[in-house]
Symmetry: C2
Subunit: 205 residues, 2 copies
Amino acid sequence: MGRTSDAREKILTAAQSLIELRGYSALGVAEICKTAGVPKGSFYYFFESKESLALAVLDEHWESQRSDWARVLRGEGEPLSRLRRLFEETEAGLRAGQQSCGTVSGCMFGNLTLELSNQTEPIRERLQQIFGAQVEMVEKVIAEARERGEVTVGDTHEAARSIVAQLEGQVLFAKLYNNTQHLQALWENCLSLLSVRPDKAAVGP
Amino acid sequence: MGRTSDAREKILTAAQSLIELRGYSALGVAEICKTAGVPKGSFYYFFESKESLALAVLDEHWESQRSDWARVLRGEGEPLSRLRRLFEETEAGLRAGQQSCGTVSGCMFGNLTLELSNQTEPIRERLQQIFGAQVEMVEKVIAEARERGEVTVGDTHEAARSIVAQLEGQVLFAKLYNNTQHLQALWENCLSLLSVRPDKAAVGP
């Protein structure tokens, strides 16, 4: 009965929440199936291996996060205020997760990069694509701000990568201290990293 | 024969290199003992559990890294040039590791923070102490630079944490892309995050 149409979705949902709480290596297929409430045979009907499940979890998580990022970064408002909203929504998302499970679980992409990217090439490649897409989305906003004369940064790609690096680093601290307030430094740091003209730094949310 | 005086050291060395390559959860005590060349009974003579081994590995790794950081950050030269040297030595260390094992394994403290800090309180506390000490060491250098009128940053503690966050974020990218050149952005980003006066930014290494 595990091969009903929703078994794959149940496995993905269980795997995503288990990976967020405990990482990838600590999990076994049996535990994932037990949490999902599907028989083990069903797992191998949908997924070749635990690694292919991890890739599917990454894809699904990124599909959802990408649409959030696109809504914010390509949405209404001035370019810099959209970046600010991205930081605020990221903090709110981590806080909601903390309230529901007791701890800040951090960024799944950052977690799996540090846990796995030097061990499995398919997962490394997928994470490279995801972070590459994030950097590209941020870069477009920086380029817009530069066209409007609001930032003076030279290399927009490098600047975007530094902002995503700062985001990942502050999320690491939020997880370490189980405190999402660490993310409040992101906006000021973003202004510094982008060499924002002082008269533009007061842009509202 | 496992309880000879060097068995503990052999276990620590094996655990450190295995944890750097594959994280904590993927390892079992049997594999650590096999790599160390000591019998399993010997492990439990020295360590109560795998968790207490992880704490000992963190302590030993931080003892060594702290003395490197102290040599650089409390050493000769102007404050900002010491920060620059820290970034350069970090990059050189990651490159040396990459040459010896084929991949950039990243920062053990960052890796274990994202893998474990929301799962075991003793490891979370130890990592908080270590990152707290790193931030404090960087903060002292920033305060020195501020006294000399070289940086105009307001909150030296927040600035130090942002620099360590940027370091962790760029090390994440170095691991993801197996390329230590990502760390070359650290110096420019540090100058931006510290609001370094332009006439002071050209400080040599």
